[in-house]
């Protein structure tokens, strides 16, 4: 390996064990200036741990860390990482919700001090947002907690790329596009290309292989805590990349054949109209149907999901719903998990009434229910009594699926639930959703990923809190969805 001056980071034989779990098992990685390293692997392959090591938040059990030519093994931490210009955008966002955008910028850049620091910090962050995400609509004085998850992610990204007295030499992006819609995600990937062309370096972690193949200059594949392949990006294609990760690609044609539109003429189970709807379009969902909600992030899809979810409890004129509802949250931390509880309790919470014997919750029933769904949905854990936080992000998400599917709900609402979930898991879940729909359940599925609309029988496109297009399965094309998401109708 050549040790010239453009090498920003070199890791040799890095190991990290958590109890019996070997999260990192002797990993070598080097990143040079001017390259974007794509890092892929299944959930639990060790990607996030590796990034934590680079960010200085986790210290490795063995191995050496060389940054900018200096051996920092043992002396490496968050402060050293910051000095060396290593920046991280983590999968779980790290902004303070009770502070404004400008104040959050100050947290990372202590050089803003004295009178007028808010104004200067705000100018820096908004300038960077303008550069990366033109038309972002975020102001320096916005409270972060009031921003949608996509906008929070944009602020976090802009903050990581902004430069004050410390450089931004290497920016690590861990699933940066998982909550961004296609348009904003492309803005980011374009910026990453400009950034590395200017001599910066990036590590891009993503489950969207298309993104990796388009953006990365070099791809590193991890499996079970080890690097199993590293090659220039142009030597990979989708199939070889997936097989390097160790999962089998399913041909997409097979699915499409099965999915002709199956809209029945019977009474719909769900009938909903956004509050802002002025014309006659309304959302209908029948028994056994998978209905997709498309459009750019934050255009009213979530509101209608919540409206449908709570329609039976609060009489609302937004939605008429026949049957019990359950939600699969996409914003795991804020809307999904109960962090102090075991996996089993997190699954059982939506089904407590049926888990009772007499007035009391029967633990055997609760454990049996959890065990049944662990097997059905393949939650990777040695013990369902372990805390939910012992699971990787993807497996936490599966737990949330299990919670909804194990319940008595006939209508399952999904709020972009595939954020940060790996390809193999996604396939498993898609198949499961189809099987459950065949059994008669109704799914209403908000997604920011175009590919997932292929699994839907019927798609509604949202813009400005309104339904603007109603597409049956055979009318669905990417162009039509994009067209409806952006263009006002003639």
């Amino acid at each position: 390996m050549h040790a010239d001056t453009t090498t920003i980071v070199r890791l040799d034989g890095v190991e990290k064990h958590f109890g019996a779990v070997r999260a990192l098992d002797g990993v070598d990685l080097n990143v040079d200036a001017g390259e974007c390293v794509g890092l892929v692997g299944h959930n639990g392959a060790g990607k996030s741990t590796l990034m934590n090591v680079l960010a200085g938040t986790t210290s490795p059990g063995a191995g050496s860390i060389v940054i900018g030519g200096a051996d920092l093994t043992g002396a490496y931490g968050v402060a050293a990482a910051t000095r060396q210009g290593i920046r991280c955008v983590f999968q779980e966002l790290s902004l303070c919700p009770n502070l404004t955008v400008a104040e959050n910028a100050r947290i990372m850049h202590p050089s803003f001090s004295g009178f007028g620091w808010r104004r200067r910090a705000g100018a820096l962050i908004v300038g960077k947002l303008d550069e990366i995400f033109p038309g972002h609509g975020i102001e320096a004085g916005n409270m972060v907690g009031d921003l949608s998850i996509a906008r929070r992610q944009m602020v976090e990204i802009a903050r990581a790329f902004s430069v004050t007295d410390t450089p931004a030499a290497l920016v690590i992006l861990d699933e940066p596009t998982s909550s961004l819609d296609a348009h904003v995600a492309n803005q980011l990937l374009d910026y990453v290309r400009r950034f590395i062309a200017g001599g910066g370096a990036c590590i891009l972690i993503s489950h969207l292989l298309g993104e990796i193949l388009q953006t990365a200059t070099r791809i590193v594949v991890m499996r079970d805590g080890k690097v199993v392949a590293r090659r220039p990006a142009n030597e990979f294609n989708r199939t070889t990349l997936v097989s390097a990760m160790g999962s089998v690609v399913e041909e997409r044609g097979e699915h499409t054949a099965a999915a002709t539109s199956r809209r029945s003429s019977g009474e719909p189970r769900v009938r909903a109209r956004p509050a802002a709807q002025t014309d006659k379009l309304e959302l209908l969902a029948h028994q056994g149907e998978i209905v997709g909600l498309a459009g750019l992030e934050g255009h009213g899809q979530k509101e209608i999901l919540i409206g449908i979810l709570q329609a039976r409890k609060r009489r609302s004129d937004m939605a008429y719903v026949e049957g019990a509802t359950a939600l699969v949250a996409g914003d795991r931390q804020n809307e999904g998990i109960f962090p102090l509880w075991s996996i089993a309790r997190n699954i059982g919470i939506r089904s407590l009434k049926s888990l009772r014997t007499g007035a009391l919750i029967d633990r055997t029933k609760e454990d049996d229910l959890a065990a049944e769904w662990r097997d059905k949905i393949n939650i990777r854990t040695p013990d369902l009594n372990n805390g939910i936080l012992s699971l990787s992000g993807g497996n936490q998400q599966k737990t949330l699926f299990a919670r909804a599917l194990a319940s008595d709900a006939e209508i399952i609402l999904m709020d972009d639930p595939m954020r940060g979930v790996d390809v193999g898991t996604k396939q498993e879940v898609y198949n499961l959703v189809r099987r459950e729909a065949d059994k008669g359940r109704t799914f209403i599925w908000y997604t920011t990923e175009m590919d997932e609309l292929d699994h839907c029988d019927h798609v509604y496109v949202f813009r400005d809190s309104r339904i603007v297009a109603d597409l049956a399965r055979d009318e669905l094309t990417e162009e039509r969805v994009l067209h409806s998401s952006f263009e006002p109708e003639a």
Partner: protein, 316 residues
């Protein structure tokens, strides 16, 4: 170490029990074994009153950050005052007095939650301001006169069988029931779910408003019951009778291993913490230390026990 022993040592409350026993032992060493049984009986008798209110406070605190009931002392005073005045030392009126105390508790709970929900006042402010109203109502109702409890009620409240106070036995049973409610009923699960992640709880189909309402009412009713029995125990309702229970109820909850941040509650620890707080004071009094030193030591011992109890584990 055998698995069973290890499992017990992992319980967060076990250290508080160990501390309580150690404090009792230290007192016994000092007095050369004199009056050990009496001391335990006294500790049980006083801890009973701490535990009744702490059970309610624990549920409220478990609802999550910002939830605390500061109206407990005033509720105790109001319920005790109203009940003793209506009973007017008549044994035949005991049941009426008790039902009246329950009604006071119910009214207080409704009023508190009304302030919190309808007027959107933070619980800490809502219960603080309502406590002034309840305290004033108690003063207005009885002009501060102390009326003795009916003799039979006083007898029930102060009697013990083989060193175990009757009331303590009843409250141990109550604690067992609350423990089961907390862990094995949908209501208990809902309280801990709301305390961990209110938004997730609402989206998982839990009626958050109803759970919070029930919890504030539960807490107020227990405070009223405590006021009823404490005025019987101490020879009549006094206007300041609840004062000690404001901080005591919170301290017992926290030392007992319940998370101040909400979402995790612990019933067995309440008894340990209540006994412990009483025994520490008794021990320092026995040692004959000055008031200043007593306070310093009490503080240090509490900090020590909380550190020993350590971090929390995932519940199961």
């Amino acid at each position: 170490m055998p698995a069973a022993v290890k499992q017990i040592l992992e319980r967060p409350w076990i250290w508080v029990y160990i501390a309580a026993i150690a404090v009792w032992g230290a007192t016994m060493v000092f007095t050369q074994g004199q009056g050990g049984g009496d001391l335990l009986t006294a500790a049980l008798a006083f801890a009973t009153f701490s535990v009744i209110v702490a059970l309610g406070q624990m549920m409220v605190i478990t609802l999550g950050p910002g939830n605390v009931d500061l109206s407990i002392p005033a509720t105790m005073t109001l319920a005790g005052t109203v009940a003793t005045k209506v009973m007017d030392t008549q044994d035949s009126m005991i049941l009426v007095g008790f039902l009246l105390a329950l009604a006071v508790g119910l009214g207080v709970g409704l009023f508190n939650y009304g302030l919190i929900r309808l007027l959107q006042i933070p619980p800490i402010i809502a219960t603080l301001s309502s406590s002034f109203l309840f305290q004033s109502a108690a003063i207005w109702y009885n002009r501060g006169l102390r009326i003795k409890p009916p003799p039979q009620l006083a007898d029930i409240a102060t009697r013990d069988v083989l060193g175990l106070p009757l009331l303590a036995a009843a409250v141990i049973l109550l604690a067992v029931i609350v423990h089961v409610v907390l862990h094995r009923t949908t209501y208990g699960r809902a309280v801990t779910a709301v305390g961990q992640n209110t938004r997730a709880a609402a989206l998982a189909g839990i009626n958050v408003d109803r759970v919070r309402f029930q919890t504030y009412v539960f807490c107020a009713v227990l405070a009223a019951v405590n006021g009823f029995f404490f005025s019987a125990f101490s020879g009549g309702a006094a206007l300041n009778m609840g004062q000690a229970y404001l901080l005591n109820s919170i301290a017992v909850v926290v030392i007992g291993g319940t998370s101040v941040a909400g979402g995790f509650a612990n019933v067995p620890g309440l008894w340990a913490a209540a006994m412990f707080l009483f025994l520490v004071e008794a021990m320092l009094n026995t040692f004959g230390l000055g008031a200043g030193i007593r306070l310093v030591l009490t503080g240090l011992i509490i900090v020590g026990v909380i550190i020993a109890a350590g971090g929390q584990k995932t519940e199961r």
